[in-house]
Symmetry: C2
Subunit: 333 residues, 2 copies
């Protein structure tokens, strides 16, 4: 692999999170399934927002969170995703650039508003997400900067990207360019209901060799192989031709490759405040480790470290300098 | 005093905080004085925002924070302040109503954008504030709802309200109506540089009997009486015809009335994360105690409790239900 301008490039929905605290009764009254992500239209988003408590606006988006985490760990990082030229869009652009991520996707001048995800954080630190895709639906092939893709060692895609119809074409283009240039393609399954929607496509991509690294949590893995048995799902993942990374919350992670599984413990935390972004940041640490050619166990430790940081405060992006944090805690990066 | 529809009504600048972490080197490079609030114009706000790190958007404004804290402690609360009909304004309106505060001020349809305060939080938990007053400058006498003022047991005003020229007239009107209806008027001095700008007016208001309760921190009190000696400043405050409430960070507070001073300790905290809103929330607790006819020492304890909550997380408004918190910690409300 020739040397690259970027260590990692993310493609994903460009979203501003609207984060509020809520109790279980609120979720029940609104008919929301705790821990899941559901897609909503603008009027539903407006109605839910009106019913929600006071909220903080913080830039989010799964792949964007991951890329920012990787940048915080010292990776040269880039992102492709679509916002509108509105106040929320301006905040998204500011935040991703302020995190030293290359971001050059053109703003939508008309059409729906910048995507927002109404995140309800319950006292048990779980997050329930309601996404209005808005302008992120207008990401198309034309937004995929060929040179940027070809110059990125790893191209990282979120499963959520399958929800806006045009974005899939953007993914296919990016994956083709990446493969042609000898780069790696990684996919995160994003959400068990998202896997339900696109199971055969995700399996097809892996089996066609379009994806070399797969990130999933336990429920996404169960959904992918339609089994309630974890060992069965892991065995099936082990038979795929991918590097599988399975996150298991406080039980740590499992690296599955060539039919073997390596378990790595979670990073100890004092108090879990908000689990939003835990998976995104695990992926950030893991990818940063891969980019720096660390052993897989170290990659998983870096993932655990980054995830531990993000679940100890509200919001899905790190507040600490993750490279400093890694140095302080003795994890090599 | 006849019974009132509202326990407390706040008048103040309606602001959205844009909160970012920064180090001392950044403050130095930007020529910012740590811990102070300075007024900036829109182009300066844009330039500073561009230089800042990733930021969270959270509704703020000193008096608005106080009113929301009082509502969280079970007070019937209302607020008057001006935003524009833009995205930030919509968020401000949502948040204050979601906190169960009555808010009916008309939105500005044109003119400058909703006010924003660029808040830089340094690792020592201090906050440095840069305020673009925007639409809040368009608060006028016409926005003061006479019946709302007459129906509020306490009318609470922020010193910052003196900065937008037209707002002063709104204050004068509110204070007149309140006095006419036999209500109490409270003022917070807001910031030592704000006191520098309006010292003679603030002293004049107290001495004319227009204000019955005065909130100040140590540096504001020093600025008010132009002395570096705390005891001298307290003695001067004791000679005024007001109930004086002096906050002293970790040293607690001092209630000064009729020439006597009552010291009340601060509430113990594990880790101070962001001191933004500490004074605002102290005032919230104190006012809530007054509304519930608690002894002054209990009022100060409630203030200490509310301030302790807000300095343990990022943002100037409480995340916890303060009434529950008071119950858990055994402070009577």
């Amino acid at each position: 692999m020739s040397s690259c301008r970027f260590d990692v490039l993310g493609l994903g929905n460009a979203i501003v999170d609207v984060i509020s605290q809520a109790d279980d009764a609120f979720l029940l009254a609104q008919g929301l399934r705790k821990g899941a992500m559901r897609l909503i239209d603008e009027s539903c988003a407006d109605a839910l927002y009106a019913a929600m408590g006071p909220a903080a606006f913080v830039s989010g988006g799964s792949a964007a969170n991951t890329i920012i985490g990787a940048a915080s760990l010292g990776c040269a990082a880039a992102f492709i995703g679509k916002v509108k030229s509105d106040e929320a869009g301006a905040a998204f652009v500011h935040d991703i650039r302020a995190a030293k991520v290359s971001y050059t996707t053109g703003l939508a001048e008309d059409g729906p508003a910048t995507a927002r995800c109404l995140v309800l954080v319950t006292p048990d630190a779980q997050r329930t997400m309601n996404t209005f895709l808005g302008a992120s639906q207008n990401l198309t092939e034309a937004d995929v900067d060929e040179e940027m893709v070809a110059q990125s060692a790893i191209v990282y895609l979120e499963g959520y990207l399958w929800d806006p119809p045009a974005a899939k074409a953007a993914f296919v283009k990016a994956a083709k360019i990446a493969r042609g240039a000898g780069r790696k393609v990684a996919l995160t399954l994003s959400d068990s209901f998202c896997v339900d929607r696109y199971r055969s496509e995700f399996l097809g991509l892996m089996r066609a060799g379009a994806i070399e690294i797969l990130f999933a949590n336990e429920s996404e893995l169960h959904s992918l192989y339609q089994t309630a048995d974890f060992e069965t799902a892991v065995a099936q993942l082990g038979a795929e031709k991918v590097l599988g990374v399975v996150t298991r919350s406080e039980k740590g992670s499992l690296i599955v490759t060539n039919g073997e599984a390596l378990a790595v413990p979670a990073f100890p935390v004092e108090q879990v405040i908000d689990t939003t972004g835990a998976g995104d940041l695990f992926a950030a640490g893991f990818l940063a480790g891969l980019c720096k050619h660390k052993p897989l166990a170290t990659c998983a430790q870096l993932g655990a470290l980054a995830a531990a940081e993000v679940i100890q405060h509200i919001g899905a992006r790190p507040l600490a300098d993750l490279r400093q944090l890694a140095a302080q805690t003795g994890v090599a990066i």
